[in-house]
Amino acid sequence: MANLLRKIFLADLFQGLRVTFHYQNPKYICTEQYPAERPKVAERYRGAPRLNINPDNDETLCISCNLCAVACPENLIVVGWERNEQTKRKDLTTFTYDTSRCMFCGLCEDACPVDALELTQDFEMAGYTRDGQIWDREMLEQGPQPKAYRS
């Protein structure tokens, strides 16, 4: 008898509707209003690559060891260097990183022994050209500069 009443009065459907109506309360809205509010990404987020600079003497931290290029599965890093005659060390000349083929796996960041190359929390790297996705040393040191349309 109870089953018949449940069937006629659509008890199971109202049970589901109760859940749905419970969430109509505006305090349950969890939509992120992007781009008005930017999401807080994690500290370890693997985003845009960056070549770090030593803050004390404004020189690059990279020692041109080529470990990042060796580690990359896609072979998209090209490190150019020349031998410095006075210090007998390698000096970085060019550093090319092809973000169009990068899969942001983090193997280059893991391989770098001096933490010069790191994947930062920037994710707004879109561009209009395919060639613009190949970043040279200057772009890597500055980081992506997305154009802000509204402050």
Binding site: Y45, C105, L107
Partner: protein, 370 residues
């Protein structure tokens, strides 16, 4: 086309094309229909074939690790676990206990996330639009934990050969336990929405029946096999990564229809939460990486290692020839093998059932096609 049907005047060949909201990816199903009854199906796959196995022959072992995530992209952590376990077996090393516990936590979290995608999209295909929002809201919490741990939400590349790259972050245990506490009442909510719902039961019961014998013949594993009554799970049968230490149950049902698979997966989500809680308790300080050489060169040999991915038995057959690059990596994809059984499950059903059955097998085309 299967030879059991032949074309006569009342039959219609309908293409459920690669672009379709209900085929869970780029799957093309050619249906032979008699009115609304399905006489036969033919799956055309390969639209997402990227040649992952060929890529593996041209990358070193550590370099291939990120590619593995891209196969079953919904459960990337599981794929990574399987691959790392296979290479570790070739090298004859074992990850330290702390690494194993963290791996179990992340893998079970990934199982929950994968089942949430399954539930949301399956319900959406059948016509219940609400669960998908709730499932993705919960999945967001799980993905936040992945992001905090390894830096990416979907293609996580969380594990390395020999253990873990990253130590757990401050608050990892707290966040995982908070997720567990938050999640169990939500599973109750999904059940309130769906389990007793007459429309849901009407759409799912006695649809797509695959009994235990047929499951074994077709090599179907995972929740589909367990819903047919076979109590088999790779985590219990051939435990890996410390699963023998955890207490959990294997949910099974008898009928092997779509409704049973739904119930099995909901129970599996609860069991995953149970495992996660135990694993967090077992987390003790220690090393996270085994002694693995910098350049990985396993001795000549081959190995087959399989894990219980959310979709079924995911296996890696790796052949090494002693160099830094694998000679052959074969991925045994559960979705590929499970999809074979589509033809048997659909026989005699209606067109609307095809959608329900594709959803219930829980395929991810990235894994079917690799």
């Amino acid at each position: 086309m299967p030879e059991s049907t032949f074309l006569d005047s009342t039959e219609l060949v309908l293409n459920m094309g690669p672009q379709h909201p209900s085929t869970h990816g780029v799957l093309r199903v050619i249906l032979k229909l008699d009115g609304e009854k399905v006489l036969g199906t033919d799956c055309v796959i390969g639209y997402l074939h990227r040649g992952v196995e060929k890529i593996a022959e041209n990358r070193t072992y550590a370099q291939f690790n990120p590619y593995v995530d891209r196969m079953d992209y919904v459960a990337a952590v599981s794929n990574g676990l399987g691959y790392c376990l296979a290479i570790e077996k070739l090298l004859n090393v074992e990850a330290p206990p702390r690494a194993q516990a963290v791996r179990v936590i992340l893998t079970e979290l990934n199982r929950v996330a994968s089942h949430l995608v399954w539930l949301g999209t399956h319900a959406l295909d059948i016509g219940a639009i609400t669960p998908v929002f709730y499932c993705f809201r919960e999945r967001e919490e799980a993905l936040k934990i992945f992001e905090n741990y390894c830096g990416a939400r979907l293609t996580t590349h969380a594990f390395r050969i020999g253990g873990l790259q990253y130590e757990t972050y401050d608050g990892f245990e707290r966040e995982v336990l908070a997720f567990c506490d938050m999640f169990l009442p939500k599973v109750d909510e999904y059940e309130e929405l769906l389990t007793n719902n007459r429309i849901w039961a009407g759409r799912l019961q006695r649809v797509g029946v695959l009994n235990a014998e047929e499951c074994k013949e077709y090599g179907v594993t995972g929740p589909v096999l367990r819903a047919a009554g076979v109590k088999w799970d790779v985590r219990k049968a051939q435990p890996y990564s410390g699963y023998e230490q955890y207490e959990f149950e294997i949910p099974t049902r008898e009928n092997g229809d779509t409704y049973d698979r739904y119930v099995v997966r909901m129970q599996e989500m609860r069991q995953s939460v149970r495992i996660m809680r135990q694993a967090v308790e077992k987390l003790a300080p220690g090393p996270i990486m085994a002694k693995v050489p910098k350049v990985i060169k396993p001795p000549v040999g081959e190995v087959y290692v399989s894990i219980e991915a959310p979709k079924g038995e995911l296996g890696y057959y790796v052949v090494s020839d002693g160099t830094t690059q694998p000679y052959r990596v074969r991925v045994r994809p559960p979705s590929f093998v499970n999809l074979q059984a589509l033809d048997r499950m659909v026989a005699g059903g209606l067109v609307a059932d095809v959608v329900a059955i594709i959803g219930t097998i829980d395929i991810v085309l990235g894994e079917v096609d690799r």
